[in-house]
Amino acid sequence: MSVAQEIRTRLQAALTPIELEIIDQSDEHRGHAGWREGGETHFHMRLVSDVFTDLSRIERQRAVHKALGDLLEATVHALSMDLRAPGEV
């Protein structure tokens, strides 16, 4: 399974997203720290979930960290995230 698919699978299981978009930006970081041949090191994600309602920014991101677990430690060098509850612009 690709890294992006693995991220998707774990997030879907933990956060039941209404919208989930994962973009591999590794090519934009070619040659930077953490980049490696084959990409799949730098990602951006946008996730909308009911779970985030009434959670602070820190709590939302902690929920993502928890869902991704060792993926963040070992595989993904950088993951920027846009985390919203339904209705938030």
Partner: protein, 115 residues
Amino acid sequence: MNDQPSETPIFSVIEAALANDDVVLFMKGNPQYPQCGFSAAVVDVLNRMAVPYNTHDVLQSAELRDGIKAYSDWPTIPQLYVKGELVGGCDIVREMYESGELNTLFAEKGLVAEA
């Protein structure tokens, strides 16, 4: 947060750093030469805010790099702290800057004049 942070030596170092300055950024590199785009982005926001801050370069110490992740149970760097509390990393800092929340936070803490 760890229940007994001071039991690990690096946690004492971190606590001292947080006690020393109101706005503390743990980053890769330094403000002049950030070694990571996310660290650079947070430095850029702090410079725009005209708030005094201090930085600590985690690339100078593997102990600090691992320690700061464990200290707040936050797996990524940069990490911005205001008055000892974790505000967040690059995404959160940038969102809070754009929405004006960061200015409100600094004002509430008496670090910048009211907007």
